[in-house]
Amino acid sequence: MTVEQIMERAGIKQTGLAVSYIKEALEEMANQHETHTQTERIDIVSGKRFYHFPKHASKILDIRCKNHDNTDSEYRSIPRSVYEPVTEDSDGI
């Protein structure tokens, strides 16, 4: 369905306003109903503790690590730590 068809159904005449609201609706759908999903792989760097989320990620569904609880190079979901480790990251990166 095109933006034009949605505008006609909703009775909106201003394109800018409609595009803005449609983007908002798509963001809401991604957050609440996870309609479109994707995976992205990032390198683990020795000594580097903090990593950035992908720029266009709306909601994180899972974080998996290679060889977590296995030796077969499988990716398995890792648990979320309730507390931060007492050992601080030495270089803060």
Binding site: H36, N67, Y75
Partner: protein
């Protein structure tokens, strides 16, 4: 591959990956000795009426588990699954050098995000490939994966400037320096040495720094290099050069540079990441855009728009009504794809 145990936690706009490490509490150990002074063996000690104290091997020690920063690098070690808003359609066929381009890393000019690339033995001219305001899609970079817009036409020196804001410290310096066959970039005078010193100091926190050299007179002196950290603060010692082969493979080989004197160059701080950049992106910005939604989901979007219009009219009752329809429509859409009973499964 070694068995590992990871965990994560969120911190601001980042997430932390920590790895379990077993360590010993290590009880205090004692060196074997005699209660009487001057005896160094058990026999002579006991013959003299003393008591021989054997050495302690830490028999009361135990193992504890603690989480620390990852102990070793793992290529593609983290896999993130996420949902995203489909505000664009990727229409690229993914043909290398046509609508798919390989980049070696990213950096900043102090304001905007820059992408860097290099050909096999020469700089790569991007001027005919990217125009200002083009939309691109980045894949393979954890942080920058997603939709971006080109700020200005691609440079002839292998740099693509995007509209995405990015400020790095350090980002870029311009210095006049000498290239020597000992793989050093050496500033020609004190003012330039000061600039390089500030740059290398700011790169100190990186476990493996990389730089991109631009505008060197000799083409082979340009490109992405790894830097040997800690050799000197007033010059830059190069180690390896990252290039892209003719068939599109990333290659890291020992750097080889040509001697050059008083060369005015730009040096960028680079984060090495193998990135794919796709062209041919259709972005949601006008009425002709085709939304990647099912009919059911599109109807939900119509309800959402009506809810927002009602909100603009201060009609909260209508707003709540349409939001409820929106949610119900989405739930109906997702439940229509479920068939049969749920089966409970253990965690293994």
């Amino acid at each position: 591959m070694a068995f590992k145990r990871y965990a994560y936690f969120n911190k601001g706009n980042k997430f932390a990956i920590v790895e379990s490490e077993m360590s010993s509490t290590g009880g205090n150990t004692a060196v074997a000795h005699c209660t009487l002074g001057g005896y160094s063996t058990k026999d002579t000690c006991e013959a003299a009426g003393g008591q021989w104290i054997p050495s302690s091997t830490g028999s009361n020690s135990g193992a504890i588990e603690k989480y620390v920063s990852p102990r070793e690098s793992v290529s593609d070690g983290i896999e993130i699954e996420y949902s995203y808003a489909p505000t664009f359609n990727l229409q690229s066929a993914g043909q290398n050098e046509t609508d798919l381009h390989l980049f070696i890393g990213w950096g900043s000019d102090g304001t905007n995000l820059l992408l860097f690339t290099y050909a096999t033995s020469d700089v790569k001219d991007l001027s005919s490939l990217f125009a200002a305001d083009d939309w691109i899609y980045i894949k393979g970079s954890g942080r920058w994966s997603g939709l971006h817009q080109v700020k200005s036409a691609g440079s002839a020196t292998g740099i693509l400037t995007l509209k995405t804001r990015c400020n790095l410290k350090p980002s870029k310096i311009t210095v006049t320096s000498n290239f020597t066959d000992t793989l050093h970039i050496t500033a020609i005078n004190t003012p330039n040495r000061t600039i390089i010193n500030g740059f290398t100091d700011a790169q100190e926190y990186l476990s493996q720094p990389y730089i991109f050299v631009e505008n060197a007179v000799d083409a082979s002196n340009n490109g992405v290099f790894s830097v040997n950290k800690g050799v000197s603060n007033t010059d830059i010692k190069l180690t390896d050069k990252i290039t892209i082969s003719l068939v599109g493979d990333y290659t890291s080989t020992a750097a080889s540079i040509s001697n050059e004197s008083s060369d005015e160059i730009n040096i960028y701080n680079v984060f090495y990441e193998q990135m794919n950049v796709y062209e041919g992106i259709e972005v949601l910005q006008d009425e002709s855009f085709e939304l990647d939604l099912t009919e059911y989901q599109a109807q939900a979007v119509v309800y959402y728009l009506k809810a927002k219009l009602a909100e603009d009219m201060r009609d909260m009752e209508a707003r709540e009504y349409f939001i409820k329809l929106f949610n119900k429509q989405m739930e109906k859409g997702s439940s229509s794809k479920k068939r049969g009973p749920y089966i409970a499964q253990g965690i293994f």
